[in-house]
Amino acid sequence: MPSWSELEQFLISGLALGGVYALSGVGLVVLYRATGVLYLAFGAVGAFGAFLMYEMLQASAPQWAAWIVCIVFGGLVTLIYGMIFGPALAGRDPLVRAVATLGLTLILFGAMELLWPPTSGATRAISLPTDNGGFTVAGLQVTWTQVIALAAGVVITVATGIFLRFTKLGTAMRAMANDRVITATLGVPVRRVEAAAWFGCGILSGFAGLLLADLVQLEPATLTFLVISSLAAALIARLRSITVTFVAAILIGVVHDLLTPFSALTNYRDMTPFVFAVIALLVVSRHGTVMTRSREEA
């Protein structure tokens, strides 16, 4: 049984991880509500952006330029995908549209393996300048990257909430989540609103890729399939509430990292998001919410 002082450090890293899961989960939920597409390529897009950033840093490009490339890449790829395959698959089952994004995932994943094959010796890594600075709280070392990750999760969740409630575009998105056809009839430029949702989600995927490449590991498979963890948080929120997504993401991140020092459980800690999501799905299915929801859309 590890002592509290051992756990404290993992609490900090867990909060940081939870922050990134939260901003990813919020991006997934907003896109799903606005367009009906569950964007499973979220992780792959972010990972590809992170590798581009790595490549630019290797070529000693300025740091800020590399960050912008990573984030904008996510936004552009997502926007292009949404513009091509959004209309092509509109009106199909949500399941088909989610599976189609797996196509994009595989394309990006293959391209990453091709361009950045696994190295035998030194592993690739990204280190942000914020890793070195930091401060001490109650005897705990906290890096600025961890602060940024958690703060980004909080800020994105709050900002998205305000955006959806008080802006014209946000209201249009909420309207589309309720009924696309009626929204279109009322004169809302549906395609433009969707484009905004795709681009916003893509920006978040690039940002998440940037942070996760630093916090976790710069490796194609790891980063690509980390989307499943954020997805777990979104699923716990039934792909609806961004507040629940945020809480679930923080919980998953913290539990995941707190399990690290327990020798019996440390190998199983990667199961945390799956276990949470499976329990949530099964509980939700008992109350029938998921059933009605998918019937509405099918």
């Binding site: 949500p94 994009l104 293959g110 199983y268 998921v290 998918s294």
Partner: protein, 374 residues
């Protein structure tokens, strides 16, 4: 009581018709082509292949069973599973454990692996099929992810003791045994083909009888199927169990083919690639499963010989998913003959020159003959 009697006699007639339907194949040409292909795969192909390709041909036969199970779920019942990779692993693990731990005959172990997988798959499926569509796909993806994590810690049995049968030391690891009659590569390949053929017949028998019709009704509309008196939960669970059973058998065959199993050879993207190739091959046609297995196992083998990176396949499969879902939902198995038919018709018309309108009917018939045999 006469009502019951007429009902019973009516049921008997229907049963008789069904049996007749099973006995008499719809298309004798198709049947003979299929039999010829199977005989060629059993006896014609092995002398043409070196050891490298024989191994991959065996894997193709094994994975045809997996994609058959997935095609059954997706195409016939409308259940999308993103966790079939994990089901294969359960079958392989069980078979490896039994082959190391007991002296049972090989065929018995394979069937037991199928049954255990069916049981575990059913336990997963029982709650999972209460969910629909997107949520079912996601829960299977989550379970597959969780299972991969467990397997990375537990590892595949390699002749050690205890429940997990894992020997941590790297010395004296025996290979997984094969049956005496199929010890060499060609023998095991033939065994794999025979097992695959049996599984295809099993699934075909299901599709041509009551469960097949129930699944078709469920796929069309679940409320309508329910209204027609079909126990939808039971038949969905049946499909799930059948798919798990044959996938478990494929996993067991895989254990004998690989001889050494390592958990890092099984990844989360396997499940996704399985769905990709199943969709590309075509889920509404049993030939689609064979095409999918060729795409998944034979194509990489050929490409590797040419020195092409495996990563290109991921890209190809990604494009394939998008293409199938947007323009050709029936996959290669149905799309290719249709394209060939069109091409044949086009060539026929070019050869004949635009002329007599009565030639139109003949043109399409000739086209279908070329399309059918290719």
């Amino acid at each position: 009581m006469t009502g019951v009697d007429t009902k019973r006699s009516a049921a008997e007639t229907v049963a008789g018709q069904r049996l007749a339907l099973l006995r008499r194949p719809e298309r004798p040409v198709h049947l003979s082509v299929t039999v010829a292909l199977v005989l060629f795969a059993l006896f014609g192909l092995p002398p043409l292949m070196n050891g490298y390709y024989t191994g991959y041909a065996a894997l193709t036969a094994i994975y045809a069973i997996v994609t058959l199970g997935l095609g059954l779920l997706v195409g016939r019942v409308g259940l999308y599973s993103l966790g079939q990779g994990a089901i294969v692993q359960i079958g392989a693990w069980t078979a490896a454990r039994l082959l190391f731990g007991t002296a049972q005959p090989y065929w018995l172990v394979i069937i037991e692996a199928g049954l255990v997988t069916m049981l575990i798959g059913g336990l997963i499926g029982l709650p999972a099929i209460r969910l629909r569509g997107l949520y079912l796909a996601l829960i299977t993806l989550m379970l597959a992810g969780a299972f991969t994590v467990v397997l990375a810690t537990v590892n595949f049995p390699n002749g050690g003791g205890g429940f997990t049968g894992y020997n941590g030391q790297q010395s004296h690891i025996p290979p997984i045994r094969r049956p005496s009659f199929a010890g060499d590569a060609v023998g095991y390949y033939r065994l794999a083909v025979v097992v695959a053929v049996i599984m295809f017949i099993l699934v075909y028998a299901h599709l041509r009888t009551r469960p097949g019709r129930a699944w078709a009704a469920i796929r069309q509309s679940e409320p309508a199927a329910l209204a027609a008196g079909i126990n939808t939960t039971f038949y969905k669970l049946w499909a799930w169990g059948l798919a798990s059973f044959i996938t478990g058998i494929a996993g067991g065959m895989l254990a004998g083919q690989a001889r050494y199993l390592y958990s890092y050879n099984f990844t989360t993207q396997d499940s996704i690639i399985l769905l990709a190739v199943a969709l590309m091959g075509g889920v509404y046609n049993m030939w689609g499963a064979v095409i999918a297995a060729l795409l998944m196992q034979m194509l990489p083998a050929v490409l590797q010989q040419q020195g092409v990176s495996y990563a290109w396949l991921d890209i190809l499969f990604g494009i394939g998913i998008l293409q199938v879902l947007t323009t050709a939902p029936t996959g290669i198995a149905d799309q290719f003959p249709r394209d060939m038919k069109k091409l044949g018709g086009l060539i026929w018309r070019l050869v004949r020159r635009p002329g007599a309108s009565s030639a139109g009917g003949k043109a399409s018939a000739a086209g279908s003959a070329t399309g059918g045999t290719t």
